[in-house]
């Protein structure tokens, strides 16, 4: 049954429907795979064997009774450790939340459970989603299945690596500046950041509330569409959730896979190509654009002049919101509590200080300090205020671009996966890896990353990014599925077939 773990979620759903397998079996083979390879990959922070098997058994019982909860009922999934899970540890990759077990489910998790997807466990991430490499996890880095010495992207490196190494057919990620798409690009998987407000943020431990969005992490575009339809849609518990039905995502993916893009206008963003982009990345991107043209799409070059300020604006808005969000971790009610040394009877303030000093990692502290500074009186207008203006300009750039193009495209990340440790001492170099993904978060528009091949110089995966107007997430799936189908035809199978075989621990 080794074959089961390599199949797409859509295939597995068909296999379940045909009675070829059961949810318990599917869940068990993935748990076995985790036991075999996760020692080397370290995609998971917590594995819920018992819970997953119980949910799987319940799914099989539903199926036997002919009462399926969703098209993905019975297909197991991994969840990024930034989403609250009732009864399961939720650490956000931070020591400060070590041992915290939420008393409630995030809305996304509640919808997964309601749809019958057994939850295998919680995936590794940069602490509080702050990073592009998963090296900032307090529990150790995740390794890229394509080359264990390299990063799997971040912050959702755990989810992407789990899917890329066949430990889970599906995973949930969250994307604040690229944390779903960039790991997708560097691990040869598919990742989608939905329209802001398209998926409930209730129970997503916020890094930057106005940017965060949960979304699918999968191996195929169709799987992302299926998962997106399970988790998306209005939630009254999230005031920023959009009270509109989702577009028909699965239909769009199926239509796109047929390979006809006649009449679709593809906009290549001038500011997101060329200088700063690795040659192999640029090459695969250019070829992919030509494939789309071959499928009937027309290509226009669009300019988004304010995108050059996106990174700067992002690194003011995100830390500002984060500095406030992270204030609640004060040792008073939950999580880590550190008693300061050398103080006879420490005050609440002493305990807060000692706990935050020990509980937060350097990158988190760096951003708290940045954000605190940016919001301080006398600096607010120059920093936070200006950044918000840039954000408005970036939204206008998108509006203008979408006037002449139905979707915008770019490489997802400027480089392939770098080596673990390579950029750890140079935060700005690390931040630059998100240069192409950040504009979508600032404007709230949806984005998808789909594998575009391997870079010639290092043989590592390259991601192709598709961006669409807000609430037009269906366009991502149509174009993404078309490109995926055309490329797989060229490759003779999925890109992941070319990934090295992981050594199996026994």
């Amino acid at each position: 049954m080794g074959d089961l773990i390599r199949r797409s979620a859509a295939d597995l759903a068909d296999a379940l429907a045909a009675g070829e397998t059961t949810s318990v079996e599917l869940t068990r083979v993935h748990l076995d795979r985790i036991a075999e390879v996760d020692g080397a990959v370290h995609a998971f922070l917590h594995i819920d064997t018992e819970g997953a098997l119980a949910q799987a058994a319940a799914s099989d019982a539903r199926r036997a009774a002919g009462q399926l909860a969703s098209p993905l009922d019975g297909v197991p999934i991994a969840v990024k450790d930034v989403l609250a899970t009732d009864g399961l540890p939720t650490t956000c990759g931070s020591k400060i939340l070590e041992g915290w077990i939420p008393p409630y489910d995030a809305e996304v998790v509640a919808r997964l459970k309601a749809a019958g997807l057994p939850i295998l466990g919680k995936t590794n991430m940069d602490e509080f989603a702050m990073g592009s490499s998963t090296e900032h996890s307090a529990y150790g880095p995740t390794h890229n299945p394509w080359d264990l010495d390299r990063i799997p992207g971040g912050s959702g490196g755990g989810s992407a690596a789990a899917v890329a190494s066949f430990q889970a057919p599906l995973a949930i990620g969250t994307d604040t500046g690229g944390s779903i798409r960039q790991p997708g690009a560097v691990t040869g998987t598919v990742g989608v950041k939905p329209t802001y407000g398209g998926v409930s943020r209730y129970g997503l431990v916020a890094m930057a509330n106005s940017l965060d969005q949960a979304g699918p992490v999968t191996r195929t575009v169709l799987d992302s569409a299926l998962l997106h339809e399970v988790i998306g849609g209005h939630d009254a518990k999230d005031s920023t959730s959009i009270d509109q039905p989702l577009p028909a995502l699965v239909d769009a993916a199926r239509r796109g896979a047929a390979g006809d893009l006649t009449g679709v206008r593809i906009g290549v963003v001038k500011e997101l190509t060329g200088e700063g982009y690795q040659s192999g990345v640029q090459q695969r991107f250019d070829e992919a654009v030509q494939l789309l043209v071959g499928a009937g799409a027309t290509v226009v070059e669009v300019s988004c002049p304010n995108f050059v300020h996106a990174l700067a604006a992002y690194y003011l808005i995100m830390p500002s919101e984060a500095s406030s969000n992270l204030a609640r971790f004060d040792a008073m009610r939950y999580g880590l509590r550190v008693l300061p040394e050398g103080i006879e009877s420490p005050s609440a303030e002493d305990v807060m200080r000692a706990t935050r000093d020990r509980g937060f990692g350097d990158e988190v502290k760096r951003r708290i300090i940045l954000g605190t500074y940016a919001l301080s009186s006398g600096y607010y207008d120059a920093y936070y205020g200006q950044a918000q203006k840039v954000r408005t300009l970036i939204s206008r750039d998108f509006d203008t671009a979408f006037y002449s193009a139905d979707v915008l495209v770019s490489p997802t990340a400027p480089t392939t996966a770098f080596r673990i440790g390579e950029k750890l001492d140079d935060p700005v170099a690390m931040y630059l890896n998100d240069i192409a993904t950040i504009p979508a978060n600032l404007a709230g528009v949806p984005g998808l990353s789909v594998p575009a091949g391997l870079a010639d110089e290092d043989g590592l995966p390259v991601g192709f990014q598709v961006l669409a107007p807000a609430m037009a997430d269906d366009r991502l799936y149509r174009v993404g599925a078309a490109l995926e189908a055309l490329l797989e035809k060229q490759w003779g199978g999925p890109l992941l077939d070319r990934a090295p075989t992981l050594e199996v621990a026994r």
Binding site: L83, A84, T90, C92, L97, W100, P102, P103, Y104, A106, R201, Y202, G203, L204, V205, A206, A208, N209, S210, A236, K237, D238, S239, T240, S320, E321, S323, S324, A327, R328, F329, D330, M332, R333, Y334, A348, E349, M352, T372, L375, S376, S377, Y380, Y384
Partner: protein, 501 residues
């Protein structure tokens, strides 16, 4: 250590007081400001909480529409403009009773702003209307409540440990901020008290809060500063908190005037700080030092969408506001037939609403006024509490009057019924029964008591027989004493005169 004070008159001879009043009103919505938890007062600690009001990681707020409606109605009643678009903001600071270590409040975009309200202030020469300008009224959430255990002061310093109850965390608050109140001179403390009383009346009329100061559903911070007389400047202010009754508002303002004048008069300067009013000792004590450098790093709450009340909604709320307090007073005075003086005393005793409810429960206006202004105002004064916080309801007062009207008790017995009700012995009827206070109407027993009194006082009886009817008082007294007050004095008098005719 107590602060030096100068006599109040002396303070005013040298300085002009300026006041700013910040009043927090706890709304009586069924659920909290940003979650569905109940708001009932007095529940077991931490039983009315959820992930959102506990600030658990991942939780999110949703605005309570009823609270927004209440805020708009308060704003309209204070003649404010209502924002057509406004946002919530985070006020960032660390405190253990604040679950998120930021308070979701409003900053530079309050829901209501630029209003005023006309307050009736009691002065030596009658009532005077004083206009208080309202800078803003905004929405925010309450914090949890800390209980510091151990130590002598009940404050965090010196406590062995602290307990926090988050039931109060997230209860909707409206903060109403006045512009600096200048030119009130010696009346400043009276204006402060009258303003808070007026606000309470106004909000009771709106029905959006219980406004019980003793339960903390109306809290007033008194900002006060002094400037050399006639300069029109604003001096350094102190902010006095913990002012939990109307009387305290007046006393705290008065105290700060005397205290600050003593410091300034001796060449010192006022420390900008938070002070705490001490109800028992009647002084303010220094709290946390505050400075303009306090930086709350406000920014718009990214988890909430802007509040944008439509013009039609605001107009319909305006059209359905209840009558303003002054109009109501005029109407009630007319309905009740009170003289100006009676009305003033009733308002001065803070008993207008109580009298109104007592009348609504069946008492005559004069009877209702009599009991509240004589008997109950006196007791409130003796106990140093607001009259509204006495443990007796208007309906119970009306019932006591009904017992008198039915002839079941007399005024003297009624006072004992008040004693019983206030002592927690039950309803008026229960007190009458338990204490055996019913008037004796048994003619035989009365007649025997009268005969006994006549026999015991032959001199007095003789005088009455001679026509000196005024002497009957002594015999009536004797009979009433014999009957332990439970006799109808009128009937006793009739019997005495009959028997000695």
């Amino acid at each position: 250590m107590s602060d030096a004070l100068v006599p109040y008159d002396e303070a005013l001879a040298a300085f002009d007081p300026a006041m700013g009043l910040e009043v927090h009103i706890e709304l009586n919505t069924v659920t909290k400001m940003f979650c569905g938890c109940p708001t009932e007062f007095g529940a077991e600690p931490n039983t009315q909480t959820c992930p959102t009001c506990l600030g658990l990681p991942g939780s999110m707020p949703v605005v309570n529409g009823k609270a927004v409606e209440s805020a708009i109605r308060i704003g309209l009643a204070l003649n404010c403009d209502i924002a057509s678009w406004c946002r919530f903001a985070r006020k960032n600071y660390f405190y253990p009773d604040m679950p998120k270590n930021f308070q979701t409040s409003q900053y530079d975009e309050p829901i209501a702003f630029d209003g005023y309200t006309d307050v009736l202030v009691d002065t030596a020469d009658g009532s005077e209307v004083f206009r208080v300008e309202i800078e803003r009224a905004h929405m925010e959430e309450d914090t949890g409540k800390s209980l510091h255990v151990g130590g002598s002061t009940g404050r965090i310093q010196g406590a062995d440990y602290s307990l926090v109850d988050y039931n109060r965390a997230g209860i909707p608050l409206i903060e109403i901020v006045t512009r600096p109140i200048m030119g009130a001179r010696e009346k400043a403390p009276a204006v402060a008290k009258a303003y808070v009383a007026h606000l309470r009346e106004l909000i009771l009329g709106l029905g959006v809060s219980d406004v019980r100061m003793e339960q903390g559903s109306l809290r007033c911070d008194v900002n006060l500063s002094l400037a050399p007389i006639g300069t029109g400047e604003l001096g350094t202010r102190t902010e006095t908190k913990n002012v939990n009754s109307l009387r305290s508002v007046e006393r705290a303002a008065r105290y700060e005037i005397s205290r600050q004048a003593a410091i300034l008069g001796s060449g010192g300067s006022i420390l900008q700080e938070t002070r705490h009013w001490q109800e028992v000792s009647g002084v303010t004590l220094s709290g946390r030092e505050k400075s303009d450098a306090d930086d709350y790093r406000y920014f718009p709450e990214p988890d909430l969408v802007p509040v944008a009340p439509s013009e039609e909604w605001v107009r319909s709320l305006k059209d359905t506001l209840p009558e303003p307090p002054r109009v109501r007073r005029d109407r009630l005075q007319k309905e009740w037939g009170f003289s100006d003086l009676e009305m003033r005393d009733t308002i001065g005793a803070d008993a207008l609403g109580l009298v109104e409810e007592t009348i609504a429960a069946g008492a005559s206006p004069q009877a209702a006024r009599k009991w509240w202004l004589s008997e109950l105002a006196r007791r409130a004064n003796e106990q140093d509490v607001d009259i509204a916080s006495l443990p007796i309801t208007p309906a119970q007062v009306a019932r006591i009057q009904a017992l008198i009207d039915e002839g079941g008790i007399n005024d003297k017995l009624a006072r004992q019924v008040f004693d019983g009700v206030l002592a927690g012995e039950g309803t008026p009827d229960e007190v009458v029964a338990a204490r055996g206070l019913a008037i004796v109407s048994d003619e035989g027993a009365l007649s025997a008591a009268v005969d006994a009194a006549i026999a015991a006082n032959p001199d007095v009886a003789g005088k009455i027989r001679e026509g000196k009817v005024a002497a009957a008082g002594a015999l009536i007294g004797a009979v009433m004493k014999d009957m332990r007050g439970q006799a109808d004095a009128g009937r006793v008098r009739e019997l005495i005169l009959e028997k000695l005719a």
